[in-house]
């Protein structure tokens, strides 16, 4: 990357050393088998912490602190010099672990990218610049003449974010908007004819995009290597470790109903009342009421029902009947027919952004307090528990709020906490089953 309007030139002598690796190539190191697994587990703790934090809707500043704390707690090594090696080794081990399915890759990619982002942001600006040059980004800073021509708009953007106006020597980069999707999404850049004007302080986005696309490609390659050679070669040594590692943190896959077999259409209203988490109850009621759900809602509820074990024929009959009055069934057929979708996790639902007319999302996160109170009351939550639940909501612990609701409604503890609507359903059915001696 070339910084045109910068007056200082960094001479090769004062190289700034950053401890943040870019993981460009696998380490040429000997790794002991125990370290292989231990390092990986330590890194998983960090990644899990990050993904939990994100799913709770923590703010960027809180996330940055959380990431640094997690690193400190888990990624230390008795020998300080070994810390970078541990960092690199653990990353590459987890690449092996998480390269093997689309779902695993997605999780690893987004969590590692988030971690990288927070680490990059906490580096000094010299170190940041050094890291940037390692990436070899092909962007030029905008010239003085161009800066003058868009200065007013850049100022407008800065002020819309509550920042002060850019000074005359401010450095901006002009990049294709596709490379800074997060800045575009938040309207934190000025866009002109497909280019985004990125301020020096926003460069982290550019770097993160590079990091992400590199890692994404690398994961595909690793996957190929894994299936073509590594898995067989390491059949007795690494492969078992790798396979065990991946299941140790990503919860179970709820796309295929297991425990309770199939559920038929006539029971569904009853079951919705007893065993659906609030997010699904709400969608279900809205559907019954309005005979219509928008795409986001159809997906969230449809995949959940699939996971719950609603038989396909029943499911289609159900949707057809519900939609007949407003939309026509075909739209759902095509969505429901996708086999490769798995039911949404709480994390995914919580981070969705329901818009006007939408009913998907997590009520704990997306409802106003008033509406949430009313909904909880309808579930039979007492006013005392209600305050506890709302307290969790105010602290943005949505899944904990849902867990409390679960416990109140079922009158029994839920030690694991709620991570997935289908888990809520299964746990609920288990409890009801043990109470009644049969499935409700």
């Amino acid at each position: 990357m070339q910084v045109v309007r910068s007056h200082r030139k960094s001479s090769p002598s004062d190289v700034v050393v950053s401890t943040l690796p870019l993981y460009r190539s696998a380490p040429p190191l000997e790794v002991r088998l125990e370290d292989f697994e231990l390092f990986a587990l330590d890194r998983l703790r960090v990644l899990k912490g990050i993904s939990d934090g994100l799913s709770r809707g923590r703010k960027p500043e809180e996330m940055e602190k959380l990431a640094m704390d997690l690193l400190k707690a888990n990624m230390r090594h008795p020998q300080a010099t070994e810390e970078v090696n541990k960092d690199i080794i653990s990353h590459f081990v987890l690449r092996l672990v998480y390269c093997r399915t689309e779902e695993l890759r997605k999780w690893f990619l987004s969590t590692e990218t988030a971690l990288f982002r927070y680490r990059f942001r906490s580096e000094s600006s010299e170190a940041q610049r050094a890291l940037m040059s390692e990436f070899n980004l092909p962007y030029k800073a905008v010239s003085n003449a161009e800066f003058e021509s868009v200065k007013e708009k850049l100022g407008q953007v800065a002020r819309s974010m509550g920042q002060s106006l850019p000074t005359a020597d401010a450095v901006y980069y002009k990049v294709p908007f596709e490379e800074v999707p997060d800045l575009v999404a938040a309207r934190r850049v000025f866009l002109l004819k497909g280019h985004a004007y990125v301020a020096m302080s926003q460069v982290v986005s550019l770097v993160v995009t590079q990091f992400r696309s590199h890692l994404s490609k690398a994961l595909i390659l690793t996957n190929r290597k894994w299936t073509s050679t590594i898995r067989d070669q390491e059949k007795d040594r690494l492969a078992p470790i790798v396979e065990a590692l991946s299941s140790s943190y990503l919860g179970p896959d709820y796309s295929q109903p297991k425990e309770f077999g199939e559920i038929s259409l006539k029971d569904i209203d009853q079951i919705a009342r007893t065993s659906f988490p609030l997010c699904m109850r709400h969608l279900f009621e809205k559907l019954r009421e309005e005979h219509h759900l928008k795409h986001g809602g159809r997906m969230q509820l449809g995949l959940f029902l699939k996971g719950v074990g609603l038989k396909l024929d029943d499911a289609l009959a159900f949707w057809k009947a519900e939609f007949a009055q407003k939309v026509g069934a075909e739209r759902f057929d095509k969505e429901y027919a996708y086999n490769d979708y798995t039911p949404y996790s709480c994390q995914k639902i919580i981070s969705s952004t329901p818009g006007v007319g939408d009913h998907h999302g997590c009520p704990y996160r997306h409802f106003s307090e008033e509406n949430l109170r009313a909904a909880l009351a309808r579930m039979g939550v007492s006013s005392r528990t209600m305050e506890d639940v709302l307290d969790k909501v105010r602290n943005r612990h949505y899944q904990l709020a849902c867990t409390l609701t679960f416990e109140a409604v079922h009158g029994s503890p839920c030690d694991t906490g709620i991570n997935h609507p289908n888990q809520y359903f299964i746990d609920s059915q288990k409890i009801l089953q043990s109470k009644n001696g049969s499935v409700a």
Binding site: V157, P181, F190, K334, T353, P354, G355, V356, G357
Partner: protein
Amino acid sequence: MTKEEAENGRDDMIIDGPEQANAVPDGFNANYLRIYYGKLFPHADIFKWLSYGNDGKHPACDKSYVGRREFSFTLENDIYIRFQSFNSVSEMENSIKEKCPFKIDIGPVYSVDPAKRHAYAQSGDNVFTPVERELIFDIDITDYDDVRYCCTGADVCLECWPLMTIAIKVIDTALRDDFGFNHILWAYSGRRGVHCWVCDGKARRLTNEQRAAIADYFRVYKGNENSNKKVSLPGLVLHPFLARSYTEVLKGFFEGKLLSNQNLLSSEERYEKILDMIPDASVTSELRGRWQDNKRSSMSKDDINIVRWEQLKQVLQSGKQKAQGLRRCVEEIVFSYTYPRLDMEVSKHMNHLLKAPFCVHPKTGRVCVPIDPNNCDEFDPTTVPTLSQLLEELNKGGLRQDAENGMFILCNVIYPYDGWDRTSLAESIAFFRSSFLQPLLKSCKEEIESSYNTKLQQSKNNTLSW
């Protein structure tokens, strides 16, 4: 040729039939539709569009491109068939004529031919996944039910249609000026909204994440009826995109049209909804007081909505309120009542299907005609040609132009759907070609050419370096 003539003859007979000459009863049915697909639907144009220049002789053409595109049909009996694909215009045309779909949806271009996806699934290496898709927007008037009083649900009229006009203007300008896209097709959805197809190569290759970023760029509504939050515009000033949308489109439409069209401030119930958006009790009670008193006494000829709006602005924008940050309220109200409401999910994912332009809506019988964004003020959904109207015109034209039949048959060799140029569809198809298809294909050709040249250059350089 003779076969075509024979078919034409037969179709004409169906139209003439035992009915009175030229009179085609209103409605929508498979027989009408069959004639429409036989004589009017622009098969070749649609296919040329979706080929994006990959149907030429150029060595850099991707011959498999158009065949990897998913089409899906909804048949008369509500049967839904997905993953149709066609390698040539005649394949597509024959299939459409044979199956006579009530609705045709267009999906993404996949990594492999969608019709053969199962075969590939076994081989393992070729994952079946969407690789290209136009950036699409779906705007539906039913999402505006809380800000229009003339109709509800799927109904539209000329009083509320301006909401769609606003959406077209705001989105179209941003797509061109902010995002740098050029090949944009707007189409009437046939009933209650508009669809937008952004077809630039750059747009077709966007990742889901980038699509989501664009959708979010357009988003000002936070929350929904469950969270009782609407538009919120934080910050000292508006982002240039919002500022431009406000001054160039929203403000004018709100004050010039919707305020009086929809009688937004005429009754207590309605103005209370607007006062609700002002988080300051002293302001709202002042306004409420004035409006309740002069309910009757307003003798002026001025529209009461406009008078009240001016009063509201005056109170909110007075120096005292400015300091309290209430000024933004005026803008928030205008945004709430005018700003485009997109179905975000449709735009965010590559694998969403969208109804093809020039389909006929089964409920209204109206054709999904293109809309010219530069003249979208003139677009009138209530005069869009209907299926029966077109057939009637075709019928009349057919009689009148019988003498020139030879000419049409000549044309038939290239475009076998003669007849549209005698109907009110002519303008729409001509517009589709001249304003959308031709410029698009020109730039596709250039893109193919230039990528070919770079490749040539690269291979040359490689040889040199050896």
